[in-house]
Amino acid sequence: MRLTIAVAAMLLALTGAASAKEWKEIRIATEGAYPPFNFVGSNGELQGFDVDIAKALCDKIGAKCTVVAQDWDGLIPALLASKYDAIAASMSITEERKQQVDFTERYASAPVSFVAPKDTKLTGVTPADLKGKIVGAQSSTTHATMLEDVYGPEGVTVKLYPTLDEANADLKSGRVDTVFADKIVLLDWLKKDGADCCKILGDVDDKQYARYFGEGIGLAVRKGDQDLKELLSKAIADIRADGTYDTIAKKYFDFEIY
């Protein structure tokens, strides 16, 4: 009996209680494997466009900010489970996700593309072009959902990876014929690790598939936290207006990202 009490006490001590509500402190999660939006440097710290934007937003709100890493697949479940208060991880604002969480106004847009090896025989990116081929994407993304719903039934094999890095590694080694993801992230990859192997195969009109790709990238918050959503949306407008946003964007991109 004494043991049970001790264990129970220990559990309580470890879980702890985090009071938020006044939003003096905001816990924001990102993925940490999606350069240049979010990644871990070899100094072990989270960096990237999403992280810088999140910190700038907290500054505007006047709140203390902790940015934590969470695997992509677990981002929304852990938000719902109150492990943190918001997600800043290049997450597209979609109808499917809106059933689970609320989004702020967008802070970036999200065009989508396919990449393939330079010597690929593929010429197009329609389901018919890719029939019998293997497409890689990151699981739990808008890209994965769209591939499964639109390309899968047309005879395209869809392989889903925990991170985009791993999908790209398999593209390089030839395990998949093409990879489908955010164009900006793919462009960044093509400038670095993918430079000698791969190229953009083609873009997909994200307006045509707006049902999947939504209205750009926003921060996700729990449905109950309307006040936080409004605080963040207002802060996005503020950093857009005062030039902070442009300064951050210039650090990572040489084109318009909003």
Binding site: A69, G74, A78
Partner: protein, 239 residues
Amino acid sequence: MSYYLDLLSFGPDGWGDELAQGALVTIALAVLTLPFGLMLGLLVALGQRSANRLARNAAIAFTTVFRGLPELLTLFIVYYGGQLLLQKLASVVGYGAQVQVNSFLAGFVALGLVLAAFSSEVWVGALNAIPNGQREAARALGLSARLSFRLVVLPQLVRVALPGLGNNWLVLLKDTSLVSTIALADLMRQTNIAVGSTKEPLFFYLVACLVYLFFSMLSGGALGWLEARTSRGQARRPA
């Protein structure tokens, strides 16, 4: 060669310090989980031998479930489900603040439950190996049931159970790698991050394997020493 040494160097450009931190998290998780899992396992073992039918059935159900589920699934269920459950409980008792299960705690609980289920089998075997006469003699000397368990049964139990429990520990040590999937920065996750950044999977996964192997070897040595120590009192039978 020096390229690979640089990859392992400590400092902003190398991954040595990140991997070392990860290894510490791995060890901390395993070492903290061990007493929790073993104690719970002993409790479950006593439950299995209990005269109370309810306790017996509960203990059997516990071992069936946690020996049957993949460790990865147990971990996900504790991590996502435990949080939902706590949330519900907190709102039922009107506790307004948010409770949270972090990935370390989820790993601790999930691996502890699995360890308890597997070690309970070892404990049951060891309990059966101690002759009833020992307990009866202790009671005849006037020791209470509790005292005769603590002073007479338990010390022998540890000696008999040690080899089996040692195996449980080695399995636990390796199972900690699964927490990398719920974003705990253990050795495995730090390795994944290093691979993502350097595109050197062969090298870094091999290094990770060698670190785990090193921990296994250390444990093997420590267990041998412990076994020898706990059997000190055992007289060698003449050959």
